[in-house]
Symmetry: D2
Subunit: 191 residues, 4 copies
């Protein structure tokens, strides 16, 4: 059955691991433009929300969720099970070292980089010079670092940068109070 599959934040098993919120996640996946033939790296997979939501939209793609934190790995496993997806493969370890032995990616989502963003982008482009990368930046430093990558790779001429700020209504008595969520830079690096 066709149609965009969107998972509500509250449907995921979460724990204390930070999660890419629904609107940020859906805009990021929309920009990633993966399909059933894609091999997708989800780097810094956290709760696995990006991997699992991508899997629902592309059940035949190969999705690799890279994560170095044990608690997060547990959550990814639980979310894979909860949504019954069959095509998300967890890879434990530090990216980009953990890329070894994994098939060459066509697409990569970078939600976390453990301070090694330059190496990760370098290795992704090394593996596939035509890769399509979507990056989420929540710190000024990482966003600036990704901007450096855009500048160093002018051949990725289709790249774009947006910042998304979402505020969400919370009911307080009968009133709707808008609550600000953290703004996120979404950087789309493509040829």
């Amino acid at each position: 059955m066709s149609g965009i599959k969107c998972i509500k934040d509250s449907e995921f098993v979460r724990g204390n691991v930070p999660m890419t919120k629904e609107e940020i996640r859906m805009v990021s996946l929309s920009k990633l433009q993966a399909d059933d033939n894609s091999i997708i790296f989800d780097i810094g997979a956290g709760t696995g929300s990006v991997s699992v939501n991508q899997a629902l939209n592309t059940p035949k793609a190969s999705i690799f969720a890279f994560e170095r934190d044990g608690e997060a790995i547990d959550l990814i496993e639980k979310n894979i099970e909860r949504f019954g997806v069959k095509n998300v493969h967890i890879v434990y370890g530090n990216a980009p070292d953990s890329f070894k032995g994994v098939p060459v990616p066509t697409h990569a989502f970078i939600g976390g980089s453990g301070g090694r963003l330059h190496e990760i982008v370098y290795e992704l482009i090394n593996l596939n010079p035509d890769i399509h990368i979507v990056f989420n930046g929540i710190t000024l430093e990482n966003t600036a670092a990704m901007l450096d990558e855009i500048r160093e790779h002018p051949e990725f001429s289709g790249s774009g940068i947006v910042q998304l700020s979402v505020s969400r209504a919370r009911k307080a008595n009968a009133l709707h109070m808008m609550q600000g969520e953290n703004p996120v830079y979404i950087i789309d690096m493509r040829k």
Copy 2:
């Protein structure tokens, strides 16, 4: 082929008609959750960007683009042709009067209401008490009017409200200047 289809703003034929921007459009379509069995009303269709982008994701759904402005109708036709979609039907006239004779909707996107939001929502719920509506508000008055609808229909208990503010990088010399776009309220009215 599965996968989320996302059209870049620059790919549409646009003219002077205001257009729902990519990020707002994709979050709205994600919340709409239509599939190939859906009958979708796009009310105040403008350039047709929402209808056409939905059509790419659900090529077997029936999509009705309601629009009262002649210039906009032209653009919808051009965008239908440009993207080769077969399942968008243009309905000329003022909503909700123009709903007559059209199949009962399962989903509705409201991008414009011509000052008749209450009548439109009333008629949509009248046609299908289980309808799923996604509304885009760019004026304070229309957003407040949709809030009244949410309040008057507590049976739509899955409803939610977010405001999305997007800023987009524009290159000025070698620098990236962030430019603010208009904030949009996305109201999701569902049971």
Copy 3:
């Protein structure tokens, strides 16, 4: 000594009462344009941050802090003491009933209205048809209600509406993570 006096949020005694944040407060006071001859109502004074910060900028103005919550009254007293201001007078009770016996205002800041916004604005204009009001809206309903006031009083032709979204850097390890605060509508109602 001249110069804009701006108090940091962390300098106030706070407790659990919501506080108008520094940037929202300074923009609101800037729009209020009170001076040493002004009689200023601070309605829904909360922690007293607006009253006290105004008092530092206009030490000879008469400032009346209206508040109905006992815990908040305590905080206002503590903040008056902490900053040594002499011209903030606390008025306990429900606005606008509590306006009785207080001098006629030239300016009013509305930070909270206890669901009685229409009566409050009506009474302020009744007391002084040339009053200058600055309103802070954090719920959609109250913002819509203030919009109704603007519409019903077209003689206040200098009125304006802005929404301010502030995000603030928090240090996480050596990185600066931007954290979204709640967006606030600032409505300036003046002739």
Copy 4:
């Protein structure tokens, strides 16, 4: 007469030179915390809106408006005249070269840096190790560059970073449409 003086954007002579908008300007001046004893550098003064608005609040301070663009210099002169301020001195040339011969600053506002931000900050701290700097960043690159300065000068331990996004109502028929303005980073560098 005491009280915060705030100039509306529409009151300035503007031309084609970009101008710091009212809310950004007032938050920046609030954070600058200059008084009548201050010597204030306004670097990249543009239309002079920051200098002139500061001058109204601190009529005895010495304010130096540094600007390298001839068209902008004209505007600063016109705005000085329009608001009748006596304490804004225009310095033509490229900062920081143009700092020579000017009194040592106590405060600096950086609205533009002509690609020489590091030299400007270095020279400001060289002139006065206790200087208080407020920076406005509208490009990602300049904001990242100022972040580097914060990092290199940990002795400025009172520093803070906020991003302000303002949207402003524009009347379209009888409706208020919110229009996004460009988000600005305000970085406050102080000890």
